[in-house]
């Protein structure tokens, strides 16, 4: 049985604190987001390694860029919704185009803010950032991925966007799993269909596969933690050998994981059924992250049901 771990956001801040103790060149920049980024202990222990710019996301990204231009390893931490919309031009020009060593941490990403509503949701971040040259986009699924991506970010030396949710996540990966930015993780292999999930929806896909197993349907599950650069090789290999592909993401159905998979299937002439699960183009229903994901067909039970439909079973 998989254990329920910590919120990935907590794992992010704990990992960063550990790394920053060893490396004084690591600087965190916050926009009144110290509390929501779980960075209060960081600020207390390493006050000289945290810069606070107040509620000013454009400035946060610009200042982060300047620090990186001066040789620092910078983590700019701000709610994903504001960071990737308000400061999009700073991300595009000052971080990506200028190719600086800035890791942008989108906290409380996707629909983590639940009832706070659409102003606080970031279901656009994959789509907008995918179109920006030189951006790497990562959505860690469990505590293991959440920690590993930070360790790798320190020596990544290029623009990086990492989004984190704030609910405790189930441990999916067994000890010894290898994590590399840009390389997906095959969680399990099964001959019937492949479910590709990213970030916090991986847990739901995994639980769906357990339900399907009871009906003797065997899924492959891929954790596509890196949305860009996309692990085309693994995806194409699985889509060529599956009866159907189901993608699951806490993001708009436009421009994210699903459409990336659709494009690869179409452009590689792969004959496989595809279903994209995500947030539809509508005024989003109000609710907690869990309730909203359930509502939009991303409960484990619904994912299992849709998988069966795809396989005509």
């Amino acid at each position: 049985m998989n254990e329920i771990g910590k919120p990935n956001l907590e794992v992010f801040s704990e990992t960063l604190l550990k790394e920053a103790r060893k490396n004084k060149n690591i600087i965190v920049v916050t926009s009144d987001s110290r509390g929501s980024g779980k960075l209060v202990p960081f600020g207390k222990e390493l006050p000289n390694q945290i810069i606070e710019v107040g509620i000013a996301e454009q400035n946060l990204v610009g200042v982060s860029s300047g620090l990186a231009a001066g040789g620092k390893i910078v983590f700019g931490v701000s709610p994903a919704s504001f960071l990737t919309a308000r400061a999009l031009e700073q991300i595009k020009n000052d971080v990506a185009y200028s190719d600086l060593n800035v890791s942008l941490i989108g906290i409380s990403a996707g629909i983590s803010y639940g009832q706070l509503g659409s102003t606080h949701h970031s279901i656009h971040d994959f789509a907008t950032l995918r179109t920006i040259n030189n951006m790497t986009i990562v959505a860690p699924a469990d505590n293991f991925e959440a920690a590993e991506v930070i360790k790798q970010a320190i020596s990544y030396n290029h623009p990086l966007y990492i989004r984190y949710g704030k609910k405790p996540m189930m441990d999916i990966h067994p000890p010894g799993t290898k994590f590399k930015i840009g390389k997906s993780i095959v969680v399990k292999k099964g001959e019937d269909l492949t479910i590709v999930a990213t970030g916090e929806t991986l847990q739901r896909a995994y639980l769906a596969s357990e339900i399907l197993k009871k009906s003797n349907i065997h899924c492959s599950i891929i954790s596509m933690h890196t949305i860009k650069p996309f692990d085309k090789k693994t995806f194409i290999e699985f889509s060529q050998n599956s009866k159907a592909i189901l993608t699951v993401e806490e993001h708009s159905i436009f421009g994210g994981l699903g459409e990336c998979c659709a494009s690869l299937i179409a452009q590689n002439n792969i004959n496989v059924k595809l279903k994209i699960l995500g947030i539809p183009d509508e005024y989003m229903i109000n609710g907690s992250q869990a309730d909203v994901l359930d509502h939009y067909n991303m409960s484990p039970e619904k994912i299992a049901e849709i998988s069966k439909d795809l396989l005509n079973k």
């Binding site: 200042v63 031009e89 020009n93 200028s98």
Partner: protein, 275 residues
């Protein structure tokens, strides 16, 4: 470098700006001519930045936030030996790195700019970095006056003040014009000095097209310990060429052959007066 030589350089630089804009068929003529004396004094008399020390971060830094006046910056960097005139002559050609805004692919460029309101935050980040590293280098940033309508400029100012960045020197190229017309008609930004003061800056005003005034003002920065400085440099858009000065349509107008030759001959006359 002495004042007379700097003055001659400013005239030579103006000729080069007009030449590369004329030959390449594009460029921001008015703004490049308004800020050229500032860049001249900065690179030749004030800042510790050279092709030799550029790869090392232990030096001064310059961020040109008003990126569109890139022809002025390219001209000065070329003269400082960052690249050859032959390279500069590829301006605006297919596959050249010399494009209409600063990019780091051109030697000597610190940061990619062009979208307004970005440079000051980056300069603030660099200045904070110098403070953390306990280095005495300074960070200079040139802003346009029309650019001051961007809210992000003022976000950056709050942080510059919070972190007591007396190593940050901001220069506003106050030429009074922007693409649509006079700044005070388009969207009034005065009183600029009071605005910066209220954001925690020390302010100085000077004539930004006068070499001796600029030399003197840069000797007095930072004005006050623990305070960022802004120099409001009063300039003339199109400065140095009579028929380009203060003309709105010369924001990014390219001289035709007659205009080019007339401008060069006017500048040559001024140069001859130094001989």
């Amino acid at each position: 470098m002495n004042e007379k030589n700097l003055k001659k350089k400013s005239l030579e630089y103006r000729k080069t700006i007009l030449e590369i804009i004329f030959k390449s068929g594009a460029g921001h003529t008015g703004g490049s001519l308004s800020c050229i004396d500032i860049l001249n004094v900065l690179y030749n008399s004030v800042m510790d930045i050279s092709p030799k020390n550029f790869p090392n971060l232990d030096r001064d830094h310059f961020i040109q936030s008003k990126g569109h006046s890139v022809e002025a910056l390219f001209t000065v960097l070329c003269d400082c030996g960052f690249y050859s005139k032959k390279d500069l002559n590829t301006l605006n050609q297919f596959n050249s790195h010399f494009i209409g805004h600063p990019t780091k692919k051109v030697p000597g460029i610190e940061h990619n700019t062009g979208a307004l309101g970005h440079g000051l935050s980056v300069a603030v980040g660099l200045a904070i970095c110098k403070k953390i590293d306990q280095k005495n280098n300074k960070v200079f940033s040139l802003l346009g006056d029309g650019e001051l309508s961007e809210g992000s400029v003022w976000e950056a100012c709050t942080t510059a003040s919070k972190y007591n960045l007396d190593n940050l020197i901001v220069i506003v190229d106050r030429n009074d014009l922007q693409i649509t017309g006079k700044t005070e008609d388009v969207n009034p930004i005065e009183p600029i000095d009071k605005k910066f003061k209220s954001f925690g800056f020390e302010t100085i005003s000077t004539n930004g097209n006068n070499i001796s005034d600029l030399l003197s003002v840069f000797q007095h920065v930072p004005v006050k310990e623990n305070k960022p400085t802004v120099i409001i440099a009063k300039t003339t858009k199109g400065s140095g060429v009579s028929f380009i000065e203060n003309q709105i349509d010369w924001h990014h107008k390219v001289p035709n052959k007659d205009e080019y030759e007339s401008a060069i001959s006017e500048l040559n006359e001024k140069l001859n007066s130094y001989e």
